[in-house]
């Protein structure tokens, strides 16, 4: 069985959407319940903390045979240890090494964060950036959470464009995770 570890419940909702899209395109076959595969760790610091995995330790090598960590790199200026891509990469690699699970483990780091990532894939991205500038939203919330909330409110029935090239690397990692799994 596989497991994905993410930071928060918004990430889980997003990943379920993406996984269902991959199922629809038959890139993932044989899974119905993605809810039972994605585990919320309760923030980046918990996700990167070895102590958060005591229950998982019992399952690794038995129930769990492949694992994927997915999280935001955030901003360097906000966290000197784990902020920014370089530091995040260093932290996750150090965690994986400390956990020493003898199974296939991989990771994917969002550039900045999930909301930034999503806004970058929108076909009307410019409109949202205009809105961000007009209302000086960056000063209020540089994570772009407000923008994705606006998007979801404006287009509740329009899914994200998962065919956008920015999704390719993440989609490939998810496909690899589910490869040979049933």
């Amino acid at each position: 069985m596989v497991r994905i570890f993410c930071e928060g419940s918004d990430d889980k909702v997003f990943l379920r959407l993406l996984l269902n899209d991959l199922k629809k395109s038959e890139d993932i076959i044989g899974f119905d319940n993605f809810d039972s595969i994605v585990k919320v760790m309760g923030g980046k610091s918990n996700l990167l903390d070895k102590e958060s995995y005591s229950t998982i330790d019992k399952q690794v090598g038995k129930q769990l045979t492949k694992i994927l960590f997915i999280f935001d790199c955030d901003f360097k200026e906000d966290d000197k240890v784990c902020g920014g891509f370089k530091n995040s990469k260093k932290a996750i690699e150090s965690l994986i090494s400390a956990l020493d699970w003898k199974i296939e483990v991989d990771y994917y780091i969002f550039n900045k964060n999930l909301d930034y990532f999503i806004i970058d894939t929108l076909d009307n991205k410019k409109n949202f950036e205009g809105c961000e500038e007009c209302f000086e939203l960056k000063e209020l919330n540089k994570n772009r959470k407000i923008l994705t909330c606006i998007y979801k409110s404006l287009y509740p029935k329009k899914p994200f464009d998962f065919s956008h090239q920015n999704f390719n690397e993440l989609k490939q990692k998810l496909k690899n995770l589910f490869k040979d799994e049933k």
């Binding site: 585990k39 019992k58 038995k62 129930q63």
Partner: protein, 344 residues
């Protein structure tokens, strides 16, 4: 003090050569243990092996429990057949189990064309020529095993006696009334007829009946399972209760109440409970029965510590049966996040 009271609890087990278990070890059992796993992974066999281990007091109880388990498992096939202890022992062939309670071994030896039974109970080793063995059996009355068919009337009568001897009839009626508000009482009438008293007043669904006491066979399996479990908890004081497919016949809305009763009585009567299930609802009900808000309204002496409740997930690793044991907090967290823990 607590440790001394619970010293009969089995904490770990090693099983060799028993059904699907070639060489299996598990440790960290609690007071109340729920076992989950996919079909045919060995949930019942796991519980049977534990039952054999704790049931055995001597050779007679050892042979009895080996026979009884096998007989109960093939219940339907054994109807109209005369199955002997000898048949069953020869079918079993080989068995080894070790725990903090007992180290047991059974096998058939063949020397110079002569077959012998070999029994080991801790330091005591016995070898008997098959033809000389008397096959006498002895029951350990304090250990109960409710198989997936449920109790028959005579088994139910036996455990109900414990309720009577402990003057717990009123509590039993209260629990049954909470299960179904139209059930007012339960009795064994005439020495062998289990009967429920129903409400025959005007607004009751039983208002059309003249006689309030009705035979147990008129009710669903769920109610029988419910009463069997409650009475058994009183019958297994300072001992063990095993329940195969605990949620058999019981509507999901009644499961958290059942677990609540089990948690209270397991503590009060000092019983170690093992139960199996396939059902997600049954696992969730166990979690619900022990949440902080439920515990707030319970007397302190009835509250179980987190490590007294365990969920044992069975699965196969490289073809061999394996286990993962979750304590209550871990189970609660896995359930809250809808993680799959019903086997792999």
């Amino acid at each position: 003090m607590q440790e001394a009271k619970n010293k009969h609890f089995i904490k770990n087990i090693e099983i060799k050569n028993f059904k699907c278990f070639d060489d299996f070890k598990a440790e960290g059992f609690g007071r109340v243990n729920l076992i989950g796993g996919k079909n045919n992974v060995g949930k019942t066999a796991f519980m049977e092996a534990i039952c054999v281990n704790v049931y055995t007091l001597d050779i007679k109880t050892f042979v009895n429990v080996l026979f009884a388990n096998e007989y109960a498992r093939n219940h339907l096939e054994n109807i109209n057949k005369k199955i002997t202890v000898k048949d069953n022992l020869e079918k079993l062939d080989l068995f080894y189990t070790d725990s903090n309670i007992n180290e047991l071994e059974y096998k058939i030896l063949e020397r110079d064309g002569v077959k012998e039974y070999f029994f080991k109970i801790n330091d005591n080793e016995i070898t008997v020529n098959i033809n000389d063995y008397s096959f006498s059996l002895l029951r350990n009355l304090k250990v109960k095993f409710i198989d997936s068919f449920g109790f028959n009337n005579s088994q139910l009568k036996e455990v109900y006696e414990a309720v009577q001897k402990k003057d717990k009839e009123q509590i039993l009626y209260k629990y049954l009334n909470e299960f179904d508000e139209n059930i007012l009482n339960f009795k064994i009438i005439g020495g062998d007829k289990p009967m429920f008293k129903v409400d025959v007043s005007n607004n009751s669904p039983y208002a059309h009946l003249e006689e309030a006491y009705r035979d147990i066979s008129e009710f669903g399996d769920g109610l029988k399972q419910y009463v069997s479990i409650i009475c058994s908890l009183y019958a297994c004081t300072d001992s063990y209760l095993f329940i195969d497919e605990i949620d058999n016949g019981i509507h999901h809305s009644k499961l958290d109440k059942l677990w609540n009763i089990i948690l209270i009585l397991a503590k009060e009567q000092n019983v170690q409970v093992f139960a199996t299930t396939h059902s997600d609802e049954c696992i969730r009900a166990l979690v619900t029965a022990n949440t902080e808000d439920v515990k707030t309204y319970q007397p302190k002496e009835h509250i179980l510590k987190d490590d007294e409740i365990k969920f044992i997930e069975l699965g196969r690793t490289n073809g061999k049966v394996d286990s993962i044991i979750f304590n209550f907090k871990e189970l609660e967290n896995e359930v809250a996040q809808n993680m799959e823990i019903r086997g792999w």
